[in-house]
């Protein structure tokens, strides 16, 4: 028997089954990259937090952290701000997501563009826009005084309200998009079915639609909360000095005291919080809902076994039933005032209200950024409304300054190369993740997306610590490597989404027609997914172009990027030069988004 088995003719090429590990090789460059520039540095930072100055294991940093009430208080403030931000984002974002999920494709694409605009507009630009709008001499105060409603300017920013306005503005698109992803999986026929079974609008919303959209609400809340925990730009610029968040403590420890161990301990605290929140979320709703899965499915499998889940669903059911009946009562009252007539068409009242609310929120999201434009042409020495005269002075200041021009050029170069690098390592990985069955796929995907979820400030100081030892601080190369860590998850997610809609049989057809894998990729796959690839590149580009946190630490004074320069300038005084810079950034980013949108629509991708 063995003699026959061994007697395979030598000239016959034997095609063996490729193992999953070999097939998955395009994934490895990305995993290695993130291993070196993300996992290792962050791990190192966490390790530092349990060492004392002499390098021995110790809990000295943690003792210090909890001994001083200042830090405990900062933690409290951070949670409070993050929680309120989450609440506002969900409350205001839900109607928008609901509207987007229930209108036709064409209208949805247009409105999403407006929701996304602030998402891709620089954090800094948006923050300056709020200063223009809400400042002591800002637009709102100026209008209110002109109308005679108030005599003296109101204090709208540099307090808790200012931080709330700025942060919900920054994070609401994230909440809207996450909720939208879940809502789009809800079959619109379910509400039709409920109404044929006798349910009024309120009942079918609360009993059917709302419970099904709950996973989206939870996932959106989770992402907003965790991102908000690591915020520092908005509170630093719009807060009144009392709204100090944990991230600002970390920055202070590094920039002023170079106390790595203590900063590490604060980072651990931040991370631990994030993980605890994730854990509670998982127990309540299950992790797969983050990826748009169904919560009912998760709950059915495991909700009955844990007390939190059971209590949650029991409470939820009663709350929902009550809300449903309240809505019914309300619409019954409306029907008395405005009786239902079977003989003439009726206008949906609630639909109109929804449109008004949603459009108001979208206006809040999209409009403010544009208020920086007129002021950047104003002759005022400070940020003041209304604009006086017209001058290009601030643009001359901007364009005439070597510092500003240098920063802008560096930002472009860094963005160009880090987007390119992200594509080179991200696209192959996306192909593997989208198309192959891997045992470790979920883990790999979670790892690749981790840079988006872990507070950016932690990644930034971890990379700073790594660079400090290998001499990459203050180099453009270092910036490119660092920004790629943040940009590559966007590339992977975008390309995966595109591949999900790509009919793989086209590739299979090409193979049967004799095309090799490489030629199929080049002649068939790439041309067809080109719009998606361009969009992925632009997302990566904008992510890097707009990045401040990493740049803040590792640009080290010699490799300043545009956002870093804007930040430095704004901390001294917010002069109209910053607004000129903002306008330039706004212009470029808007152009890029519109370009991506144009390409997408033209090619119908």
């Amino acid at each position: 028997m063995t003699a026959i088995a061994d007697a395979t003719p030598p000239e016959a090429r034997v095609y063996r089954r490729r193992s999953a590990w070999v097939a998955a090789w395009p994934l490895f460059p990305l995993l290695l990259y993130l291993g070196f520039l993300f996992l290792y540095p962050v791990g190192q930072l966490l390790w530092l937090s349990i060492l004392d100055d002499g390098g021995a294991l110790s809990s000295v940093h943690y003792t210090k952290l909890f001994a001083r009430t200042t830090y405990v208080k900062v933690l409290g403030i951070t949670f409070r701000i993050a929680a309120w931000t989450t609440l506002f984002c969900l409350l205001a974002g839900y109607p928008v997501a609901y509207l987007l999920a229930t209108i036709n494709e064409r209208k949805r694409n247009t409105l999403i563009l407006w929701v996304l605009l602030p998402f891709w507009t620089s954090f800094l630009v948006r923050t300056f826009a709020w200063i223009v709008l809400l400042g002591r001499y800002g637009t709102i105060n100026s209008w209110l005084m002109d109308l005679g409603i108030i005599d003296a300017p109101l204090k709208l920013i540099y307090n808790f309200a200012g931080v709330m306005i700025g942060m919900s503005h920054a994070l609401m698109p994230l909440a809207v998009l996450t909720m939208l992803a879940v809502m789009r999986t809800i079959d619109p026929n379910l509400r039709n079915a409920a109404s044929t079974l006798g349910a009024r609008g309120g009942q079918s919303f609360w009993r059917i639609y709302f419970p099904l959209s709950l996973p989206g609400l939870a996932a959106g809340g989770l992402l907003v909360f965790i991102t908000a925990l690591g915020f520092f730009i908005t509170p630093a610029l719009l807060g009144g000095g009392r709204e100090i968040m944990v991230a600002q403590v970390i920055i202070e420890q590094i920039e002023e005291l170079l106390n790595w161990g203590f900063a590490g301990a604060v980072a651990v605290l931040l991370l631990a919080t994030a993980i605890i929140v994730f854990y509670v979320y998982d127990r309540l709703l299950g992790m797969s809902t983050l990826a748009g899965g169904s919560a009912a499915e998760e709950r059915a499998r495991d909700g009955s076994n844990n007390i939190i889940g059971r209590l949650g669903s029991w409470l939820g059911r009663y709350l929902i039933a009550i809300l449903g009946w309240i809505c019914d009562l309300f619409s019954a009252i409306v029907e008395i005032v405005r009786p239902i007539r079977a003989d003439r068409p009726r206008q949906g009242l609630s639909r109109g209200v929804l449109w008004i609310v949603a459009m108001a929120v979208i206006f809040y999201l999209a409009a403010p950024a544009f208020f920086v434009v007129p002021i950047s042409f104003s002759e005022n020495q400070f940020i003041e409304w209304p604009m006086k005269g017209f001058t290009l002075h601030w643009y001359e200041m901007f364009l005439g300054s070597d510092i500003w021009i240098g920063a802008m050029m560096r930002s472009f170069l860094v963005a160009f190369f880090s987007a390119a690098l992200s594509m080179i390592i991200g696209v192959p990985a996306a192909f593997v993740l989208a198309r192959q069955q891997l045992i470790f796929k979920t883990v790999a995907l979670a790892f690749i997306l981790a840079p988006l979820i872990i507070p950016r400030i932690i990644i930034a100081i971890a990379i700073f610590y790594l660079y400090a030892r290998i001499g990459l601080v203050g180099t453009s190369f270092g910036l490119v490597l660092g920004h790629t860590v943040l940009a590559v998850p966007f590339v992977v997610v975008t390309v995966m989404a595109v591949l999900k809609n790509y009919d793989e049989r086209l590739d299979q057809a090409a193979w049967t027609l004799g095309a090799s894998k490489a030629r199929t990729l080049w002649h068939i796959t790439f041309p067809l997914i080109q719009p998606g690839l361009i969009a992925a590149y632009l997302f990566a580009f904008v992510t890097s172009f707009d990045e401040l946190t990493i740049a803040l630490f590792i640009s080290g004074g010699t490799a300043t990027t545009l956002p870093k320069q804007m930040w430095t300038d704004a901390l001294l005084k917010v002069s109209p030069t910053v607004l000129a810079a903002s306008t330039v950034v706004l212009f470029f980013v808007t152009c890029m988004i519109l370009m991506a949108e144009y390409i997408r629509r033209r090619t119908g991708g």
Binding site: N189, A194, T196, R200, A296, I340, D343
Partner: protein, 368 residues
């Protein structure tokens, strides 16, 4: 049927989407206990009509009366209808019990009534033990039955079904067709059914409303539609048919003489207004045509050349061509042994006078 109660009355419904007329001049009456099917190709307006009856779409003009009450623009939840959706639309987060209880809860039924009614309908659909499960944990056929149970539990005036069997495989579909049919007879429910599957329509319906391009093409019993289609469209859509061009040679009281393809002399029973010299189409069902032996004669005889003989299963199909190129198809039950004719042979086909059905040239009522 004339003395039974009218459950649904539709008058002159019209609906347009921009320049597209989705539905026009629709008049339908549905009587208590009747099973009426809206049949037609996609885009024929059947779904639009269903949606208007359900109140999920508003018509441009016309009236809808449900159970004697005007309901044209009434909101869906006030219409007293039940609807089985194509994908069942079972609420995925609610158990089977809660799904079926939903319409009762909306009507504020007390809990003990709900419990009794739900177990009653679960018995009817012969799934008494699935109450605690989630819809997803059931098979397609079981989900289908739950959707049906959710409709019959509150005894609505009419039950609308939008291609409810479309997602199931052939075997299960055949089985459920009969089950729905039995349920209909046993419970005496009134059903408006939508499908594009002509066989399904023939199996289940008391009457069929055939639709084409937004209009009702023909409304009648399955027999009427199958044996006496009023238009080329109806003849073509239901079952297989041979459509032959013919010229009316002579009309008298009992028989119409026609000249068919290849100058064949055809005879048909009188129908509608035909005059001498009219160019019309006639329909002959393939299964009514026989292969004639030498010297055998029938009312209609046509000579043709066999092109192909195909064994389909229980029937064998003969594809032939008349001398002027008109194709003609004949089916007969399959027998053991060689077929009666070989490809290439010249044969004579014959059929009875009543099997020649005259069709007005331009499609008949509603098709113009």
């Amino acid at each position: 049927m004339a003395n039974t109660k009218s459950k649904l009355r539709i008058r002159d419904l019209r609906k347009t989407y921009g320049p597209v007329v989705a539905l026009e001049g629709a008049n339908v009456d549905l009587h208590e206990g009747e099973f009426l099917t809206l049949l037609g190709p996609s885009g024929s307006g059947k779904t639009t009509m269903l949606m208007i009856i359900a109140g999920l779409t508003q018509p441009d003009s016309g009236d809808v009366w449900i159970d004697g009450k005007l309901a044209t623009y009434a909101p869906t939840f006030k219409r007293d209808i039940g609807m089985v959706f194509q994908n069942y639309a079972l609420f995925p987060h609610l158990s089977v019990y809660e799904n079926i209880a939903f319409p009762l809860r909306m009507r504020k039924a007390p809990d003990d009534v709900i419990a009794k009614e739900v177990s009653r309908v679960l018995e009817i659909i012969r799934l008494p033990d699935v109450g605690d499960r989630l819809p997803r944990e059931l098979s397609g056929g079981q989900q289908q039955r739950i959707a049906l149970a959710r409709c019959i539990v509150y005894r609505p005036s009419i039950i609308l079904m939008d291609e409810p069997l479309g997602a199931l495989d052939k075997k299960l579909r055949d089985q459920l067709q009969l089950e729905i049919k039995h349920l209909h007879t046993e419970l005496g429910i009134t059903v408006l059914y939508v499908t594009h599957d002509q066989e399904e329509a023939l199996v289940m319906s008391d009457r069929i409303c055939l639709m084409n391009e937004g209009r009702i093409s023909q409304l009648g019993t399955p027999d009427e539609l199958y044996f006496y289609p009023e238009s080329v469209f109806a003849a073509d859509f239901l079952g297989e048919s041979n459509l032959l061009d013919a010229r009316v040679v002579d009309v008298n009281n009992d028989v119409v003489h026609l000249k068919g393809p290849g100058d064949a002399v055809l005879r048909a029973g009188p129908r509608g207004e035909v005059r001498e010299g009219d160019d019309i189409k006639v329909m002959v069902r393939p299964e009514t045509i026989r292969l004639l032996g030498d010297g055998e004669e029938m009312a209609n005889v046509i000579k043709a050349k066999i092109k192909d003989v195909i064994l389909v299963g229980q029937v064998t199909k003969f594809y032939a061509e008349v001398s002027d190129g008109t194709p003609i198809t004949v089916t007969r039950l399959t027998h053991v042994g060689s077929p009666a004719a070989e490809p290439g042979s010249e044969v004579r086909f014959g059929w009875a006078e009543e099997s020649t059905v005259l069709l007005p040239k331009n499609g008949g009522r509603g098709g113009a």
